[in-house]
Symmetry: none
Subunit: 234 residues, 2 copies
């Protein structure tokens, strides 16, 4: 039996759209890698890995959604559990292109990530009431924000970066603030409004999907554009 | 009938996570290969082969686990039978980047590997009682350890290596000791504790999976990082 994507299933259409955009982004980052100078190559590799992993997961998520209408929660969290740490590595690589960064910064960002995702999963998979789980997740995210705005990572950037890497760092900061904020909004509309199960699950998935476009694809494109312009200077 | 990964099946989730991480690692090692100097390229190729082979096996193992709940023993040993010798080749390549190494060292490491894996398979596949098979496997591993800590391989390293290749060699030594030790621990919890079949098989698979992350992915990343820093020197 083939899976049929209905022309009225807009959430399903968004899964489909994004899965294809992720495939294209992966090819883009991997191919463009040879245009940039060596120290930027790993950043593009990592951007491509994020979209590659997400592409595979979106194919599975799409099928779960189209064939059962259920939220593909497990696959989403497996994806996040790999891709968010990769984004943290990306961050760290950009900082390191500028200065010696203590590994402690990296591990603290990782711990924040884990708390955020474990909290969310406990709530979404039904291991815990949805509100307290949400709060745990928010604490993890708040900790990451604190680290990049007020902690050690922020100081390194302020002191040592050349102007245009500093602006890349700023952009990334805003991605982690504004871009990532879309996820808890999705969680909120998915579990905390008291709307019907169908409306909730539509909202949840469409918002998470939108957030992924921004945070996986747009984030990578930003890095690509900084990498290209930095490489052309020399 | 589609395979459904349940949100409570943590062993299944770990299979899934690792299969994806292996795909990403393979892309990573193959792409990053062009950043390092020629004599390091083969090491990155080999790291990528290890994760590629493992990725394919993990897709099959994941399906066996998710659809039947049984331990995918045959696939695991087929994987190990290719990847462990590849890791031995990796070792040998690193030694050879430093000095002329007698091929005898290589063959002795291979014989140790074979004894270790054949022992384990005889026990896990039910050809032999689990305890004696375990002991045969342990003898193979002990022989490998002896070779790299006290045998000819260890002497070559001590005499001729520059400081930072020596430290890479040391790291690898610890991987073969600490990293590989996780496998017999998995075997122990899988067959030798007298726990229920379900608990045993959960423990076996989660421990083996964890061990593979460390020994296939982390090991490759270590080699990558040495290769990059060595290549940038010149
Ligand atoms: C704060 C918060 C959340 C945040 C999730 C985030 C921020 C996910 C980011 C994913 C990314 C960036 C993927 C990129 O590839 C949850 C778990 C939804 C719910 C609990 C509260
Ligand atoms: C000692 C011992 C074992 C060791 C297995 C090992 C060490 C496997 C290593 C696999 C690797 C490193 C794969 C990497 O790709 C067995 C067979 C479990 C059981 C018998 C005793």
């Amino acid at each position: 039996e083939t899976l049929v994507l209905k022309s009225t299933d807009f959430v399903g259409i968004s899964f489909w759209l994004i899965s294809m955009a992720l495939v294209a982004s992966t090819a883009f980052f991997f191919l463009e890698r040879d245009r940039v100078s060596p120290k930027w190559k790993t950043s593009l590799t990592v951007s491509g890995l994020v979209t590659l992993i997400a592409a595979v997961h979106y194919f599975y998520m799409r099928d779960v959604w189209v064939s059962t209408g259920a939220s593909p929660t497990v696959f989403r969290y497996i994806d996040w559990l790999i891709t968010v740490p990769l984004l943290m590595i990306e961050f760290y690589l950009i900082l390191q292109a500028i200065a010696k960064v203590p590994v402690g910064v990296f591990w603290r960002l990782m711990i924040g990530t884990l708390v955020m995702l474990v909290g969310g999963y406990l709530g979404e998979a039904g291991y815990m009431a949805v509100w307290p789980a949400f709060i745990i997740g928010m604490i993890g995210w708040a900790y990451i924000l604190w680290e990049i705005f007020a902690g050690e990572a922020s100081k390194i950037n302020a002191q040592q970066a050349p102007a245009n890497v500093q602006s890349a760092f700023n952009l990334m900061r805003w991605i982690v603030t504004i871009g990532w904020a879309i996820y808890p909004i999705g969680y909120f509309f998915g579990y905390l409004t008291g709307a019907s199960p169908e409306a909730s699950s539509n909202a949840l998935n469409i918002i998470y999907n939108l957030a992924d476009v921004l945070n996986k694809i747009a984030f990578g494109v930003i890095i690509w554009s900084v990498a290209v312009s930095e490489s052309e200077k020399k």
